[in-house]
């Protein structure tokens, strides 16, 4: 195993996040390539385990990078992997947010917000479909997804209970 070069890791992930349009899953293969293949900082199995563990935690789905950083070099590693995530969001998004507030009626802003909204909505539908197909193995899973949609749209139950029921069903091997 190589010794972990935190500054190189920091720069690499900073570059990745600036090109990560469409969310954390788009750059997962690049992180795998860097950490597992190019620098052999952990095995592919360890990488997959940490990814799974992080997905089970609440929060945005980029937390796997924090856990990988922590695994490599403790708190310093966690910071090395987490701070680059925040950089594009706190620079570009803040700039866009600022322009949006300052010039709410600018034609280009309107065209982007109105014109691109259908694409963003289509992508939300695509994400839901991809997730559903990745995790469901038989009709019981699809049924649970369908029941969730109906309950969320028709009742005011707190969906955290549904998530807990799903987790329980998973542990018991029902879905």
């Amino acid at each position: 195993m190589d010794r972990v070069d935190l500054s190189a890791l920091f720069l690499h992930s900073l570059v990745l996040w600036f090109v990560a349009v469409g969310g954390p899953s788009t750059i997962l293969p690049d992180f795998h390539r860097y950490v597992v293949e190019a620098h052999q900082l952990m095995t592919s199995t360890e990488f997959a385990e940490l990814y799974t563990l992080a997905q089970a935690a609440p929060g945005p789905n980029f937390m796997y990078v924090t856990l990988i950083g922590w695994h490599l070099a403790g708190w310093a590693g966690a910071a090395t992997m987490t701070i680059p995530v925040l950089v594009p969001a706190t620079t570009l998004s803040l700039l866009v947010g600022h322009m949006n507030e300052r010039y709410p009626n600018a034609p280009i802003g309107r065209a982007i917000r109105r014109g691109m909204a259908p694409i963003a909505i289509g992508l939300t539908f695509a994400s839901a479909t991809i997730l559903m197909r990745a995790v469901n193995h038989d009709w019981r899973g699809y049924l649970l997804t369908l029941v969730t949609v109906v309950l969320v749209l028709r009742t005011s139950w707190n969906p955290l209970w549904l998530l807990a029921a799903g987790a329980l069903a998973g542990v018991l091997g029902l879905v």
């Binding site: 799974t52 997905q55 945005p60 980029f62 922590w70 998004s93 691109m116 909204a117 694409i119 997730l131």
Partner: protein, 184 residues
């Protein structure tokens, strides 16, 4: 959209911190559902239309869409400090939780159970995302063109599994051109 009414709503950084802490700590298997539920339905800081607009910008900008949304909402209602407070709540807790889970995992293992629980939870999370889609899609005008773009984006990414970057890149000029012409 009427943007002027927004600036009457002033939210303290502490409220933003609490709200985004709640969103992130509820967000098993994705946070968009919870962000919409809290910001649109509970707090009523954003209309459905405004949420869709920020969601759109968040997806187009590099970096995690949820984090981009958090920054823009924090900034809109609380300026710089609001954005910092929102991000602190949104990222801080999950960092602690995920590292805590890493420590527990080193001591106890049990990845098989975690995997099964995660699988069950993700099945529900997919349903939450579909429900989010149904709700946000209501803001689209009942004309064929916006829905054509919804379908093309969905088929490109969700069915054909082409890279999102190229699908969005190919559709964006047409979508922008159409929206630009429509306004005039």
């Amino acid at each position: 959209m009427e943007q002027t009414e927004l600036h009457e709503t002033r939210v303290t950084p502490y409220q933003l911190f609490l709200t985004f802490s709640w969103i992130t700590l509820s967000g098993f298997g994705g946070i968009m559902f919870w962000a919409r539920r809290r910001l649109v339905e509970r707090e009523r800081w954003l209309t459905e239309q405004q949420f869709v607009e920020l969601l759109t910008l968040g997806q187009l900008l590099p970096g995690p869409p949820g984090l981009n949304l958090t920054v823009m909402v924090g900034y809109r209602f609380g300026g710089w400090t609001g954005a910092a407070a929102a991000v602190g709540g949104f990222v801080g807790w999950p960092c602690l939780v995920v590292i805590g889970m890493g420590i527990l995992y080193q001591h106890y293992g049990a990845l098989a159970q975690v995997q099964r629980a995660l699988a069950g939870m993700s099945i529900v999370a997919a349903g939450l995302l579909f429900a989010t889609f149904v709700k946000v899609a209501k803001v689209l005008p009942r004309r064929s063109r916006p829905w054509l773009f919804v379908m093309l984006a969905f088929v490109g990414v969700g069915v054909l599994r082409w890279p999102l970057f190229w699908v969005v890149g190919a559709l964006a000029p047409w979508a922008l051109f159409a929206a630009w012409k429509e306004k005039v």
